[in-house]
């Protein structure tokens, strides 16, 4: 396998308000199976987290950040969960921990997800939050928190807007291999 390539990428800074949910918010709560016959972000968005609290998506403004507790996104592998979050307007999710398939899906669809138990514990509904995704730096009401930054190739995937554009770009560049 090829060695890790240090590709300088710039990821945008995210600014918005915090919306909080608790521990173990699974994909059935994020988007119930009955809505999953569509893959349109626009159509999934309004139902985002209605299993957690009816009408949740109505309060979200584009750029807002969801903050969750332990094991966010457990359960099914449905990517609709990520699409619904994006459709609702979320630009990032911070959590104490993520279920692994959800974590992959989010990166692969270009939604930054940050593991930061401290920020997850202290963020309150409505707080202003600013995230430097590349550095893993979270600014929450004036306090700075650190999430583990992504390895370079995950940053590259995010910078391309997701895995497929990344695969296509690399195929064009003559190598289908993501760096490992």
């Amino acid at each position: 396998m090829s060695a890790v390539e240090e590709v300088p990428v710039t990821l945008p800074t995210i600014r918005g308000r915090v919306h909080r949910v608790g521990d173990h918010v699974n994909t059935d709560l994020i988007i119930p199976g009955k809505y999953c016959l569509t893959t349109s972000r626009e159509r999934l968005g309004p139902h985002c987290l209605e299993g957690w609290e009816p009408g949740f998506a109505r309060r979200v403004r584009p750029g807002d950040v969801l903050v969750a507790g332990e094991n966010f996104g457990g359960g099914s592998s449905r990517e609709h969960a990520v699409l619904a979050l994006q459709g609702a307007g979320f630009h990032a999710v911070i959590a104490a921990g993520f279920a692994r398939i959800f974590f992959r899906n989010a990166i692969n669809l270009g939604l930054p997800v940050l593991v930061c138990p401290d920020a997850a514990a202290q963020a309150a509904d409505g707080d202003l939050v600013e995230i430097d995704v590349g550095q893993g730096r979270i600014l929450l009401d004036g306090r700075v928190f650190r999430a583990e930054p992504y390895p370079p190739f995950l940053q590259e995937i995010l910078a391309h807007g997701g895995l497929m554009p990344y695969v296509v770009a690399r195929t064009r560049a003559g190598s289908s291999r993501p760096t490992s």
């Binding site: 893959t39 449905r78 990517e79 992959r104 895995l163 497929m164 695969v167 195929t171």
Partner: protein, 427 residues
């Protein structure tokens, strides 16, 4: 050579490396890529949207409609047709309605997975395939599309937790109870990002159906994969189904484990997981008497032949009372055929149950047994999350097929030992 676990060895060989260590990011070659009717259309849409018109190797791709068959809606029919058309165009394996079943069980039966292989699927329960000593993990549709396009997948090597199963299972205690006990002990994220490797003396008495149940529910603890190292029983099962060469691997002595969990199987009782988490397992005796409206016997966890046999043995010659209903869904068409030949389906129907065609059935709450508000269901599935089988106001309890059959016979949560062993009613 560094001593490695079975999971590490399979990942290393597929990444073209002599060894890997937990936490390492690798790019691995895949032996098989699976997608079904919920996740497949999205994967194909991703390929299309990015102008990729050819899969890397049609023979390594398998498309299985299983959630929405036969299609309950026009939209579902359209989604399935999308898979069918793609399969025809590229010569990809596709299992038509009436000749397929739940993907995970089907891939095992059809010999589409072998020891030492690496399989990815667009479904979280792809980990079921670890039953034959393969590395198998669930991915999302986008990951799957990329794997279909390139034949490769990025992975982070998981550390392994060894689950040691000791002793003989008591009567009516099954692999399902082992997993409910494990989940009650380590929780829904107790194995997050880890491999679960099952070892120990109990394995000798678990057939491939039961081993599939162990690996199936590994993901309920957040695990990346579950795996049972291949033994003579595995090889007998696989050799009857797989013609291509494969290389079984097992863990090296002295391999590094993050942790070991011991389950004393001889001490287990049949368990029931209360709503809304599979980690809320309690002995059935503590919940006995709770009223249920529906019993569902099926799913990739417990819709296999062994499961149907256990339930039919309890139901034979008995009738389900009027205030409870039972839905039986064989996991695959070949299980359906075998159950028909053995007379199991007749037992269910005579008892008053409905038998549906092979599919996921009621498990994902899409058709054939969707729950209404306030209803209580005992299901042999793997997840009892709120809203999973329909209304968010329904309550789902999880248990093994013996508990399901005993409960169907009474309409209240029932310990199967009371049905056969005890006085009166059912002796």
């Amino acid at each position: 050579m560094v001593a490695q676990t079975i999971t590490e060895k399979i990942l290393a060989s597929h990444a073209g490396l002599s060894s890997v260590r937990p936490g390492q990011f690798i790019t691995a070659r895949v032996d098989r890529v699976m997608a079904h009717d919920i996740t497949g259309p999205l994967a194909l849409a991703q390929l299309e949207a990015h102008g990729i018109d050819r899969p890397f190797d049609p023979e390594r791709i398998v498309l299985v409609p299983d959630h929405l068959v036969p299609s309950p809606t026009a939209q579902a029919a359209q989604a399935i047709h999308r898979l069918r058309a793609f399969a025809r165009r590229h010569g990809v394996t596709f299992f038509e309605v009436g000749r397929g079943g739940i993907a995970h069980i089907l891939l095992l039966e059809e010999g589409l997975v072998a020891p030492g292989e690496l399989v990815v699927g667009a479904d979280s329960h792809t980990c079921t395939l670890g039953a034959v000593g393969a590395f198998a993990t669930g991915l999302g549709s986008t990951d799957t599309a990329a794997a279909m396009a390139t034949g490769e997948v990025w992975l982070r090597v998981p550390a392994t937790i060894r689950v040691r199963l000791e002793g003989s299972l008591p009567r009516f205690v099954m692999a399902k109870d082992i997993m409910l006990a494990l989940l009650a002990q380590i929780g829904l994220d107790g194995a997050a990002y880890r491999a679960l490797e099952f070892v120990g003396s109990t394995l000798a008495e678990l057939d491939l159906d039961e081993r599939a149940t162990l690996c199936n529910m590994a993901v309920e603890a957040g695990a990346k994969n579950g795996i049972v190292p291949p033994d003579p029983r595995t090889l007998a099962y696989v050799e009857a189904r797989v013609a291509r060469p494969f290389t079984p691997v097992v863990s090296d002595p002295g391999a590094d484990y993050l942790d070991e969990v011991v389950i004393r199987c001889s001490h287990l009782e049949p368990l029931v997981a209360e709503p809304h988490s599979p980690a809320r397992g309690r002995p059935v005796s503590e919940l006995a008497g709770l009223r249920v409206d529906q019993v569902f016997l099926g799913s990739c966890t417990n819709g296999k032949l062994t499961d149907l046999r256990v339930a039919a043995a309890l139901l034979r010659g008995r009738r389900i009372p009027p205030h409870v209903r039972m839905v039986v869904t064989p996991a695959t068409q070949s299980i359906y055929r075998e159950a028909l030949a053995e007379g199991l389906l007749e037992v269910f129907v005579q008892a008053g149950a409905v038998v549906t065609g092979a599919s996921c059935g009621a498990c994902p709450g899409l058709h054939t047994g969707v729950l209404g508000p306030g209803e209580v269901c005992l299901a042999t599935t793997n997840r009892n999350f709120r809203g999973r089988m329909g209304s968010p106001e329904a309550r789902i309890y999880l248990a093994n097929p013996a508990v399901a059959a005993a409960t169907a016979l009474t309409g209240v949560l029932t310990d199967p030992r009371a049905v056969v062993g005890g006085e009166g009613l059912f002796v």
